[in-house]
């Protein structure tokens, strides 16, 4: 008997607009000053009316295009009706039967190196307004809950995937890829702590019995997933729980109502959560206060023109243009657009993509993490690092010396802020790291070393190739910055081929 895990994800993303979706209040995250970003419209005061934010609509369409969705030529706004204190109008303005986009896909990489890609279908993406926030009394004394409407009316894009994901890891991978795409598009900051990216998961199992029958377990919706790690953990837990439940009760899909469970991160388990409105009847109907939108070819073209290169395309290009491996391309691109831009600038300046990648994904990333800096805050700008690596390519310094320079640039030294390429010259001079390829200067030293080491010379002449290493070492010790390749060539020439 084998089982297949069936997962579909519903992701809510706050769009990066200046103002709310239907009014001019700021949509900035502001939990510390409750109820200061409200007006008659987002308070749902009697008599107020919504007007659609053009930018919110355009960002939504931009995202849907990047997700390969079909954009509906005609779309409208519907009221989804339920009662909750964070929903001041008693309905949420959303989209029901005619969402602005549907039928898209997001390609994700699965497995390790060479593991291939999978297309995860997108059922639909639609635009709606966010609710406010309820702050519950956690003391158990039954005191009042608090309602803050700063968030009410923030533009929210809901992206619903097909149940195409087959493991908790794939679900996490899908979310990572989606987040990367959204940040590349600059449509959302995807900050899960601040709630600008939220995720619910629909999970069930297909149990393939030995007699060839397939049984589907009831679908469970898991809410309250506030990190990618928790998505993974919650689904892992749910897979086990559903299998055990099936063994115990034998209940199949359709035999019980769809259940909503919440993820309790502290206890590491999903717990039953009764819905906001049991057996909900949302009584959707077209919002008479808002008018429909027709999307023309011109509008689509103008939005399409704002699309950047997508992460998946960029990875492919990095592999082709810079000769990066799958792994390196992923690490470089998945760190975000600014990081990949940094890499590209360094690679362009030094002319060696692999060298640039090694430095950026190892040295730079390590120092960023240690110092808890973003790439935008990293003190060595791409132009400076490019300049440093260019010197390796031009054989002006060794890789080892370059690392020394790199660390010295990062060292506390107020006179070297901001760091410029001139500082590289300074450090090379101070430390005598310049690569010596001047044969005149080296000839005397080589003659001296050969004279002092008859044993090594004899060994070499007797055919022990390795003996030359010791001689190179001595020359290098005497001349700091001597280019090892030049030294080797000169030594071999002097001693004559064995």
């Amino acid at each position: 008997m084998t089982t297949t895990t069936i997962i579909g994800l519903e992701v809510h993303v706050q769009l990066l607009t200046n103002s709310k979706i239907f009014c001019g209040c700021s949509s900035a995250f502001n939990p510390h000053q409750p109820n200061v970003q409200t007006c008659p419209v987002c308070l749902g005061l009697p008599g107020s009316l919504p007007v659609m934010n053009r930018r919110a609509f355009e960002l939504a369409v931009k995202t849907a295009l990047a997700l390969n969705c079909d954009i509906a030529p005609f779309t409208k706004w519907d009221r989804k009706q339920y009662y909750y204190p964070d929903l001041p109008k008693g309905y949420q303005i959303s989209q029901y039967d005619l969402p602005f986009s549907d039928d898209g896909a997001l390609e994700i990489e699965v497995g390790g190196e060479g593991g291939g890609t999978r297309k995860i279908g997108i059922i639909r993406a639609h635009l709606e307004e966010d609710a406010g926030k309820n702050v519950h009394d956690e003391t158990g004394r039954g005191t009042d809950s608090q309602v803050d409407l700063n968030r009410a009316g923030t533009p929210l894009l809901e992206i619903v995937s097909q149940p195409d994901l087959r493991s908790p890891q794939e679900a996490k991978r899908y979310l990572e890829e989606l987040k990367l795409l959204l940040t590349y598009l600059n449509v959302s900051d995807c900050n899960m702590q601040e709630g600008s990216l939220r995720c619910d998961a629909n999970v069930n199992l297909h149990i393939h019995q030995d007699d060839g029958h397939k049984v589907a377990t009831p679908i469970v919706e898991i809410k309250n997933l506030n990190s990618f790690r928790n998505v993974e953990l919650a689904i892992e837990f749910e897979v086990k729980r559903q299998y055990e439940e099936w063994e115990k009760t034998g209940k199949k899909m359709g035999e019980v109502a769809k259940e909503t469970r919440g993820w309790d991160a502290a206890r590491g388990k999903t717990v039953p959560q009764r819905g906001k409105e049991e057996a909900s009847d949302y009584r959707y109907f077209p919002d008479p206060d808002l008018v429909p939108v027709t999307v023309s070819a011109e509008l689509l073209d103008s939005i399409r023109a704002t699309l950047c290169e997508f992460p998946a395309d960029r990875r492919e290009r990095f592999k082709g243009t810079y000769g990066l491996s799958d792994y390196d391309a992923r690490v470089t691109v998945d760190q975000g657009q600014a990081f990949a831009d940094y890499f590209e600038e360094v690679a362009g300046l030094c002319g060696d993509g692999k060298q640039a990648c090694n430095w950026v994904t190892q040295d730079v990333l390590r120092e960023m993490n240690e110092r808890n800096l973003s790439i935008g805050e990293f003190p060595i700008r791409a132009a400076v690092l490019g300049n440093l690596l260019e010197r390796i390519a031009k054989k002006q310094i060794t890789i080892k010396s370059a690392r020394e320079v790199f660390l010295e640039l990062l060292a506390e030294n107020p006179s070297r802020r901001p760091i410029s390429s001139a500082h590289i010259d300074q450090i090379i001079a101070e430390k005598g790291l310049a690569l010596v390829t001047d044969t005149g200067e080296l000839e005397g030293v080589i003659a001296e070393v050969v004279g002092k080491n008859p044993k090594a010379v004899a060994d070499f002449k007797a055919g022990k190739q390795a003996a030359v290493g010791a001689l190179i070492g001595q020359v290098m010790k005497a001349v700091k910055g001597a280019d090892p390749q030049t030294v080797r060539t000169m030594l071999v020439e002097k001693l004559g081929n064995p």
Binding site: L45, P46, G47, P50, Q81, P85, R283, F285, P288, L290
Partner: protein, 489 residues
């Protein structure tokens, strides 16, 4: 010449000439309210000091030679459904007994810019749901022509205030006839503009796709003046139309030549009071004498208008009124078990019977399993009703009809028979469903001295045509000059 009962146009002229001041005019109307409103009960709230303060400021402006707005110190009464910053806006409901909006409706801003004096808030059926103003949580307004009868509704307070000379102008809102029917019952001019002509921003919603704010006046010119003041595009209302607004108050005096008036055979059927029918036929003769051509048209789906309306309006209302849950504003019950119970108890206490009835009806029509049969079906028939009008207006310029099947009915007469009450809107509802402009003008009196109204409808955005056609009739008749015995002055 008396201030009370003068037309808005006359008063504006006298104010402009300096014959009277806004203080004079405002004081006269405040005194009229003090004298007559104890019997009529048209007003819910009169802020005497604030009104006089506005009047004084406008007089001061005039004295300094500053530019004064088109209403130049004229009092305007406001239906208590239009938000006014810092003034209670109750919608005739317990639910909003203590609600004070922190903002002005678009039309209120327009009135302030035009230097109107906001003289008071008028009574109405709760949340504009009703045809008699009996559904107010606060008081029952009487018809100034017969205090035992209703002024119509839901804008009964505004209609009665103008009829009883307690305000020269008033604003109402019309969702199924709520301006035109009380105008007809009270013998004043009332107009529902084309949907989208006047911004709904700040109008507390009953049925969003039908609601429209409009003017009451004691003559067509006054309605033209007030409409001109409030009409025009507002970016805060997505359904507001960006079309140029003609100078109605100037063009209203120009008669129309070759006017083609349609009468729908479906409008002259059983249920129509004979005296009302006679008044309408007389009115048509007046038009004929002015050179108009009377043509029969057909509106085959008009008999479904009431049924369509009583699905569409309650459905939208059930949603629009969901916000009154005792959380962010409005009434909250004193006693409840938990949050859901707080919602249910607050709403049960805050809403009156008719409002609850319509919320129930609308909730049912939108609920799973009934949406297609009721709501969607009604929206399809709604389009057929509109199509009928489009076809008719290819043949005629305006359509004439009664405003209501009978003159004003008795207070209490229909209050326990909602369906019969709904059917009193039979002539007015179609215009809301189709989005058309309509006007009600005085066209006669019953044998018991109750006013009878004539309704004219026109194609969308043809308010100018409507006003000119109405004025042609008014010029030939004196129905609009009659004042009820209960009126002061």
């Amino acid at each position: 010449m008396s201030i009370l009962g003068a037309t808005a146009g006359e008063l504006v002229k006298r104010l402009d000439r300096g014959d009277v001041t806004s203080i004079d005019v405002t004081t006269a109307y405040l005194e009229a309210i003090a004298a007559a409103d104890g019997k009529v009960n048209a007003f819910l709230h009169v802020n005497r000091d604030k009104a006089l303060e506005q009047a004084r400021a406008i007089d001061e402006k005039r004295r300094r030679g500053q530019c004064v707005g088109a209403l130049g110190g004229l009092p305007v009464a406001i239906k208590d459904v239009i938000c006014t910053q810092g003034e209670p806006t109750t919608c005739g409901s317990r639910m909003l007994e203590r609600f004070v909006p922190p903002y002005d409706a678009h039309v209120i801003s327009r009135l302030r810019e035009a230097d109107a004096v906001l003289i008071g808030r008028t009574n109405m059926d709760e949340f504009a749901m009703g045809s008699s103003t009996e559904n107010s949580a606060y008081k029952t307004t009487s018809n100034p022509w017969d205090l035992t009868r209703t002024p119509g509704g839901s804008s009964g307070g505004s209609a009665a205030a103008v009829a009883a000379c307690m305000a020269p102008l008033a604003l109402g809102s019309d969702t199924g006839g709520s301006i035109r029917q009380p105008a007809g019952f009270c013998g004043v001019v009332g107009m529902k503009p084309t949907y989208g002509r006047v911004s709904r921003y700040g109008l507390v919603a009953y049925a969003s796709s039908l609601d429209q704010i409009g003017p009451f006046a004691n003559d067509v010119g006054g309605a033209a003046l007030l409409l001109e003041t409030i009409a025009g595009h507002d970016h805060r209302d997505s359904t507001s139309v960006a079309a140029a607004v003609p100078e109605y108050s100037r063009t209203v005096e120009e008669p129309l030549t070759g006017l083609r008036i349609g009468i729908a055979k479906e409008h002259f059927v059983s249920g129509l009071d004979q005296q009302v029918e006679a008044a309408i036929r007389n009115a048509l003769e007046v038009y004929r004498s002015l050179g108009a051509e009377i043509k029969e048209v057909s509106l085959p789906h008009s008999k479904y208008a009431v049924a369509v309306y009583y699905i569409v309006a309650p459905s939208e209302a059930s949603s629009n009124l969901a916000r009154y849950d005792g959380v962010h504003y409005g009434h909250r019950a004193a006693h409840f078990d938990n949050m859901i119970d707080m919602y249910c108890a607050s709403r049960a206490e805050g809403f009156g019977a008719e409002v609850k009835r319509r919320i129930m009806l609308g909730t049912y029509a939108l609920s799973a399993g009934y949406y297609d049969a009721y709501y969607l079906k009604a929206l399809k028939v709604r389009r057929l009703i509109r199509n009928d009008f489009d076809a008719a207006f290819r043949e005629v310029d305006v359509i004439a009809s009664p405003v209501a099947p009978t003159p004003a009915f008795k207070i209490g007469e229909l209050v326990n028979d909602p369906l019969a009450m709904y059917l009193s809107d039979i002539y007015t509802i179609s215009a809301n469903l189709a989005g058309l402009p309509g006007i009600s003008i005085p066209a006669g009196f019953s044998q018991t001295n109750l006013p009878i109204g004539l309704q004219l409808l026109a194609p969308p955005f043809e308010e100018e045509r409507l006003l000119r056609a109405a004025r042609m009739f008014e010029r030939e008749t004196d129905w609009h000059r009659r004042r009820p015995a209960s009126a002061p002055g």
